[in-house]
């Protein structure tokens, strides 16, 4: 060990989608050595009132990967400062701080994955489970007969939900949108999916 200082991690960035926030950086590569990292955060409160205070990340103090899931650390819709340093044995690098504070309201919201099926005459939907912060607006309609849309708000995903009892002879279509109250935003609607019950349409 030539006594050189351990280089600090570079190129910090946050990739956030569907309220899952991943802090990433370029790994510090040393031949035949395993470098670890330590991540810390401070919210707007800490930076305003106790700026010397940084809090160790829940899952990454320390960590071997060059990325850290900070979703459980970011618990308010305010700007957060994030920093990371390298660790090699007793040696630690300088801290590298994320250039721009991160606010969870910038997360990318994608249309939710969904499975539309029929169980006998029942129109059933199962939405992707995106976690407790997500609700879903489900819109469904019977194509051709009338285009009157019906809407339902589902408080969580991951479980099949009965939407409607279908009549034979016309497809029923469904689309869904994810909603996150914590940041007051919605995703785009998913592509509509349609199912049909075989058989003659009942006389009016």
């Amino acid at each position: 060990d030539g006594g050189e200082a351990l280089p600090a991690p570079q190129n910090l960035s946050v990739h956030s989608a569907n309220m899952k926030h991943l802090l990433m950086w370029s790994p510090v590569v040393l031949p035949r050595e395993t470098v670890y990292y330590s991540v810390e955060y401070q919210g707007e409160y800490e930076s305003l009132y106790t700026s010397h205070i940084w809090i160790p990340s829940k899952w990454c103090s320390p960590i071997e990967d060059a990325e850290c899931d900070v979703s459980d650390d970011i618990t308010a819709t305010v700007p957060y400062n994030l920093r990371v340093r390298a660790i090699l044995g007793s040696q630690t690098s300088a801290w590298s701080i994320l250039e721009q504070p991160f606010n969870r309201n910038s997360t990318i919201l994608t249309p939710p994955g969904m499975e539309v099926s029929r169980n006998g005459f029942h129109l059933v939907i199962e939405l992707e489970d995106l976690g407790p912060q997500f609700e879903f607006l489900v819109v469904y309609w019977r194509r051709e007969l009338d285009t009157k849309e019906h809407a339902k708000v589902l408080r969580r995903g991951g479980i099949p939900v009965h939407l409607e009892t279908m009549e034979p002879g016309a497809p029923y279509c469904v689309k869904a949108q994810a909603q996150v109250k914590a940041i007051g935003r919605n995703s785009a609607f998913s592509q509509a999916e349609c199912v049909e019950v075989q058989g003659e349409a009942l006389p009016l």
Partner: protein, 154 residues
């Protein structure tokens, strides 16, 4: 969502604040020796009209951020509950920022009534020795959250 009269605050999960506060309170082992005294007394929080509520919660949360939390922080650090405390404090910062933006053009009489309630609380706080006051005020966050809960809708 909170609705303090005309002031609406979306984006804060009240159950999350309760969980954060309980985690801290359990760990900090609050030694409140003045159990006969209460800072957030009935005269401060009872029969608060909707239109007063926005001003009152704004003043109370600002006081908690500027005074109580700031000076109580050493106890938080000792008890290793910074993550939970950070959740509570940063959500208070968020609420205050939202209240501030929706308070423009409020009716003076409501503001004055709310101000008098807040000053009752502040006077009671100042009458105690500082450490005792900080401990008591921090311990009364549950009273504050209970009152805020009246303006909360899922």
């Amino acid at each position: 969502e909170f609705r303090f009269g005309p002031c609406r605050v979306e984006g804060v999960a009240l159950p999350g604040l309760w969980e954060a506060f309980r985690t801290v309170k359990d760990a900090v082992q609050v030694q409140d020796n003045n159990t006969s005294i209460r800072l957030l007394r009935c005269e401060v929080l009872q029969n608060v009209s909707d239109s007063e509520s926005c001003h009152l919660v704004h003043d109370l949360l600002k006081f908690y951020l500027n005074t109580v939390f700031k000076h109580y922080y050493p106890k938080i650090a000792e008890s290793n509950t910074q993550p939970s405390f950070s959740t509570l404090a940063n959500n208070f910062v968020f609420i205050v920022s939202k209240l501030q933006s929706s308070q423009a053009g409020e009716m003076p009489p409501d503001k004055d009534r709310a101000r008098r309630r807040f000053l009752l609380f502040k006077r009671a706080f100042k009458q105690l020795e500082i450490q005792a006051a900080l401990t008591k005020a921090f311990g009364e966050v549950d009273i504050l959250l209970t009152w805020m809960g009246k303006f909360y809708q899922l």
